[in-house]
Amino acid sequence: MITAALVCVAVLLALAPVAIALAAQMRGSAIIYSASLLACLALLVIALFALLDPAHPILSTTLPVGLPWLGAHFRIDALAAFFLAIVNFGGAAASLFALGYGRHESAPGRVLPFYPAYLAAMNLVVLADDAFTFLVAWEFMSLTSWALVVSHHRESENIRAGFVYLLMASFGTLALLLAFGMLAGSGGHYDFATIRAAHPAAVLSTTVLLLALIGAGSKAGLVPLHAWLPLAHPAAPSHVSGLMSGVMTKVAIYGFVRIVFDLLGPPEWWWSMVVLAIAAPSATLGVLYALMQRDIKRVLAYSTIENIGIIFVGLGLALAFKAQAMDWIAALAFTAALFHVLNHATFKSLLFFGAGCVLNATGERDMEKLGGLIHRMPQTAFAVLIGCVAISALPPFNGFVSEWLTFQAILLSPELPSWGLKLIIPAVGGLLALAAALAAACFVKLFGIVFLGRARNAVASTAREADGFSRATLLGLAALCLVAGIFPGLFIDALAPVAKAMVGNSMPHQAGLQWLTIVPIAKSRSSYNGLLLFAFVLLSGSIAALAIHRLASDRFRRAPFWDCGLPDASPAIQYTASGFSQPIRRVFGTTIFAAREIGEMPPPGSPAPARLVVDMHDLIWDALYAPIAKATGFVTERINVLQFLTIRRYLTLVFVTLIVLLVVLTI
């Protein structure tokens, strides 16, 4: 089976040169995307077989490529199978979407060759079973996605996004390189099996943890290493944005789990403190940033940071409980994190694809120029609405279940003996609750401003519904949001082997429970039944509608809107995206963004308009990135002198360097 998986990956890789040849043709994109779709579906089937096979066989193979004494090791265990399924589920959805969306691509020659290569790279990261293959695949993934980010390189913003992304990706890979170097030791045992068997010393493993957190965290978008993410994800074409946000961040999470839970041996208790202290603020800050944006794709990119934060909170809790050998609670937290991985891949892909449909129909990403699209694009609007409800963690959809499970794990944390954790976890819970509530506000804004109300410009009022492939993808993903929300037990059971392998225990079997309820620990403690809840809401809503229409009145007439007796036909009277989040900006923004509102009134008698200027800063950028950029600029300018020397001086320089080196050697 692993051979079949590798063949599929090879097919994806082979599609890249084919795409170069086909890019100029009319049917080129259809061929490439349908071939990618088939390869992803095949890989998805393989992954699901590996994950759901009750025997859980671990498949591995070694190919004679790469380092001569090492070869390239590949392996599918439960963890790899789960993430393989996520990658190819996202890949298949993106390919299906792109069958319709890709037709509108203005420069297919710059997207098509990299797209299958990017999919192949993500698959290889998950399949790799030695450090060398892992890092090569990781870097390949970074480079192919970079090429996709700068595919529309005529826009200056995209060039900057690509530059920042390339820097941060290289930095992240460097951190991972060092981490694996430390794990491999001086003997250079790069295959994961040897690394797993050797238990590194405490200092070493702590350094590896931090490096893994930096390397994988920067790719996943944890604050403060997130700076590239909201620039790069929106810059790519929308189906690639969906892949980057929905899938590549998950590959990064895979890297973290693989290193910390699998390779590093038993955790120290305070590792979880580090993870939680980064994860929980990431969740809250990510969504606060998202609320301040008016570019629809940038809102989604920042919201990815929030969801990655939620996933890492789950992983941090799992680490804490694993360190105390409370493996049944660790299994709960770990399952919650993995379930959120699946959920986020589903709804974030859906939302990015929806944003792509809007972009195609209107050519506009600025929310303040859209509006009223529910009338023009009803099916897209419906699917995006489901995605918005799901990502806001509202029942009965899937986002709620994983957050509910995370909350249940938090509620069990008083059993942890260490005081540091006892003090930090209530704050983590608070930040998570805040993030959930702010996410709802953020997605009311996104849906309300873009799809509801009245069109704010001409393109929005003449937009056309998306094509069949796009709509099918959107509605399929929306259906999955509901299915995962009302049958969570099935998904939790499927995750059991992964939890078993990583934290040594799994959540109780859920499938046999009455009416598909999920019971994480004990029935007296907590239980949730999405199916019943959904049925109740549906039933009571229908009864109310039926009763009122039958017994009271079912007539309606249309009239101009009322607006408290002050109707104004101009769409400019509507709330804008910035106006909508102004109260939240006033509550949170003054400290977090140093936001100030400056009202500029013209002098009395002057007919000039008054202006309101909002001044906001990204404090993390100012505090962390700007000084580094400034220092780098300063140093390079000083060194720049060396570029314009005469040959004599160059020779002197070489001579002096040689002397210095010899002196150093002798000492």
Binding site: P378, W404, I410, L423, A436, V444, T517, V537, P560
Partner: protein, 318 residues
């Protein structure tokens, strides 16, 4: 047999909250009016309003979408389901295991999500102002509520509201400090969530301070009736929640005999009346806040709830 009785108990609970909700609102209005030395509308006025609204035609804005018409039903259904999952006269609710306190909070969150969308649908200035302020208030009230739930759940060892209510009724609970803090937090959240003074004024119209009323400005006829009924249900829900957690006296146990169910029902009506009077007195005694004072008010709830949770983490007895 016991299944039938449980079903009847659950069904009775659903009908009870639905029929009591307008009465409670009428009762609070009456008390408020009497406190101001006014006669006030009759107790049954809310029922009459609802019936009249339901019989009227709906006047829809020309550009209202299908979502605008579906939203009242979504709001009503989720609020009603949430309200029927809160124990009223007895803790033996048949379906209480399908949703715990976190789920009930989130169900109300769903209702609010759609209500805020309803405010934005027609694209008016007032709808926008209402939605924008509502999500600001919710972004503070919801976390406060959730953290309060954490504290209570840690005291009772369960997030299941029926189990919590039973535990609070037993003598094992004692008098922990965190419970007191949680109560204050819950009351503040309840005031904010129900749009009562000092956060919002349920009786106001045509004011730039209004929140809830601004969102529903474009609704009419049966749609408005459903939204009104939902907010009345929400008031009952919060009072029942406060009663079942913090005033567990008299509540019938599961599988209780008929007379103790009757006793539970009587106790429940008394609790509703007491909380209604307290709400009316509080609302009469206090002035409405400016919109940007509300975050401080809710921030207090957030901090109290967090403190209660922290105390539970630090010590099992506080």
């Amino acid at each position: 047999m016991s299944m039938i009785r449980d079903l009847m108990s659950q069904g009775g609970d659903m009908l009870l909250v639905l029929t009591l909700a307008p009465l409670l609102t009428g009762f609070v209005r009456k008390i408020k009016a009497r406190l101001l030395r006014r006669q006030g509308p009759p107790l049954l006025q809310p029922y009459r309003d609802l019936l009249r609204l339901m019989r009227k035609d709906v006047v829809l804005a020309e550009n209202a979408s299908w979502l605008f018409r579906a939203i009242p039903y979504i709001i009503f259904a989720s609020t009603w389901v949430a309200a029927s999952l809160v124990p009223t006269f007895g803790t033996g609710l048949l379906f209480s295991w399908s949703a715990d306190l976190i789920v009930i909070t989130a169900l109300l969150g769903s209702a609010r999500f759609f209500l805020a969308l309803g405010g934005l649908d027609v694209g008016t200035a007032f709808g926008g102002i209402g939605s924008s302020r509502e999500v600001m208030i919710a972004s503070l009230a919801e976390p406060a509520m959730l953290i309060m739930v954490f504290a209570v759940a840690m005291i009772a060892g369960s997030t299941q509201l029926s189990t919590i209510a039973e535990f609070m009724g037993s003598s094992a609970v004692g008098l922990p400090v965190s419970l007191g803090l949680a109560l204050v937090a819950l009351i503040i959240v309840a005031i904010a969530e129900n749009g009562r003074i000092p956060v919002d004024n349920p009786g106001t119209h045509l004011e730039l301070t209004m929140v809830h009323e601004a969102m529903v400005l474009e609704y009419s006829g049966r749609h408005l009736a459903l939204i009104d009924l939902s907010s009345q249900l929400k008031l009952v829900l919060y009072i029942s929640m406060i009663a079942s957690i913090f005033m567990p006296w008299g509540t019938a146990a599961p599988q209780a005999a008929v007379h103790s169910l009757a006793l539970g029902a009587a106790a429940y009506v008394v609790k509703l009346a007491v909380c209604g009077v307290a709400l009316a007195v509080f609302e009469t005694a206090i002035a409405k806040m400016r919109v940007f004072r509300i975050p401080q008010f809710l921030g207090a709830a957030l901090m109290l709830a967090l403190l209660a949770t922290l105390l539970r983490f630090v010590s099992g007895s506080l």
